[in-house]
């Protein structure tokens, strides 16, 4: 262990140092409380052995400062003192010390206390290590719970959480909210023609375009299921959402992913349905998705590879209900 030994008495210092060296520890020497603080910062020892009664800054004071500096981390501090009353021990522990060793130092007692502190420090370090690894694993789990494994987009679970939240928020602030449902045209034929692995690649490339073209931090792009995607754009007016959707369609065409089995085009294309509103109380996530889905259905009917914006005449067909 790296031990910081602080004592204003040169004789006590030399004797304690000799004990520690014989026990196989590395020793850093200090002569007063102020040096204890400086050397602690400089060397980051594994253990501090510090006299209590010292000039300038006393041991208790130095321990308090070290504890304040350290925040959550912990290094054992053992006070050395020729005073050994119950009050002294209590004051030392209150100041941030962990143990008390009476002077003159007995080497066997010193060795035992250093061993005990080293054991506690090691257990603490193992505990911290495990808890830090758990924290990383938990963060990763939290991320994975909300992410679609294939495309890396938000998954349906996150969409189901976020959409009601955004609707409520936009309702309170009286902002508009746009929802776009997208579907890769004739994707079943694509899979049949090129195989499911190529189909997965196609999904990933389309997802990447959707993500790249949906730039605002508040927008959410989610895989809705299969070859369907959903984009939620809080605060977007209908015209802005239409522009964004058209830009996505253009990018997908520009990707020029061959789709020889498609009756729509020779490349992969998307159909999109947009629904935009200033939500009022009672407008549910199910409702807005159903409206966007209805518009998407119309886009398919009208020949695919296009955007259709929801209007009341679509609603009149009776396929959308609140």
């Amino acid at each position: 262990m790296k031990v910081l030994l602080v004592d204003d008495s040169p004789v006590d210092r030399v004797i304690a140092e000799a004990f520690l060296l014989e026990l196989g520890h590395e020793v850093i020497l200090g002569e007063n409380g102020r040096q204890a603080i400086d050397l602690y910062q400089q060397h980051k020892p594994d253990l501090v052995l510090m006299d209590e009664v010292m000039p300038e800054v006393r041991g208790y004071e130095a321990a308090q400062i070290i504890r304040q500096m350290d925040g959550d981390s912990w290094v054992p501090i053992i006070f050395l003192s020729a005073r050994f009353s119950a009050d002294d021990i209590a004051a030392g522990i209150d100041a941030g010390g962990d143990d008390y060793l009476a002077k003159p130092i007995d080497q066997k007692v010193l060795a035992a206390k250093v061993k005990a502190m080293s054991r506690i420090a090691m257990m603490r370090s193992q505990l911290l290590d495990v808890s830090s690894r758990l924290e990383v694993a938990n963060a990763e789990l939290r991320r994975l719970v909300d992410v679609d494994g294939l495309t890396g987009l938000a998954n349906r679970r996150l969409l189901d959480q976020r959409l009601p939240y955004e609707l409520a928020r936009c309702s309170r602030s009286q902002e508009s909210l746009a929802v776009i449902m997208c579907d890769i045209d004739e994707f079943k034929k694509y899979n049949d023609r090129y195989g499911h692995l190529k189909g997965d690649d196609c999904l990933k490339m389309v997802a990447s375009v959707l993500q790249d073209e949906t730039r605002r931090a508040t927008d959410l792009v989610a895989r809705f299921g299969g070859e369907e995607f959903c984009i939620v754009m809080p605060g977007s007016l209908e015209g802005d959402a239409q522009d964004r959707a058209e830009a996505i369609l253009a990018c997908i065409r520009k990707l020029a992913l061959p789709h020889a089995a498609s009756a729509t085009a020779s490349v992969v294309t998307l159909s999109m349905g947009l629904y935009c509103c200033v939500p009022t109380q009672g407008v549910t996530a199910t409702y807005v998705i159903a409206c966007a889905d209805k518009a998407l259905y119309k886009a398919k009917q009208e020949g695919r590879n296009r955007l259709v914006t929801y209007t009341s005449d679509i609603s009149a067909s009776g396929r959308v209900s609140r």
């Binding site: 004789v11 006590d12 000799a18």
Partner: protein
């Protein structure tokens, strides 16, 4: 009282022997440090006690620290009896029993001086150059 008996009443011979065996070649240097430091503390303590009675709180704290350091240094080197009397001085200073402190300090000086003589003799007899 024989020399050996004197040694045993003033000195903790076992502690001195174990310190010597652990420090090996560094022991003579420690001996020199001990004599220098303890003599300096003894002189400062006597001077402080004879110079300023009654003392301010700050002065008292300084003198208590001197007695405390002398106690600690003496005990660490095996001068147990001198350490015991230094502790008595420290206690009386802490409790404000200044009437007995001066007499205690004279006793301390006498025991400290005898202990140093006994220590020098012991070290010489065991072949430590001092």
């Amino acid at each position: 009282m024989s020399h050996s008996e004197l040694n045993h009443s003033l000195l903790n011979v076992d502690r001195i022997a174990s310190t010597r065996s652990m420090l090996k070649a560094r022991f003579p240097d420690l001996v020199e440090r001990f004599f220098t430091e303890s003599q300096m503390l003894m002189d400062q303590l006597l001077e402080a006690l004879s110079a300023s009675l009654p003392m301010t709180a700050e002065e008292a704290e300084g003198v208590i620290r001197l007695a405390h350091s002398l106690k600690s240094t003496c005990r660490s080197f095996g001068l147990d009896e001198a350490g015991r009397v230094a502790e008595q001085v420290e206690k009386n200073l802490t409790l404000g029993h200044l009437d007995t402190v001066f007499a205690d300090s004279q006793t301390l000086y006498s025991i400290y001086t005898d202990s140093c003589k006994a220590l020098k003799k012991l070290l010489r007899e065991s072949g430590v150059a001092i």
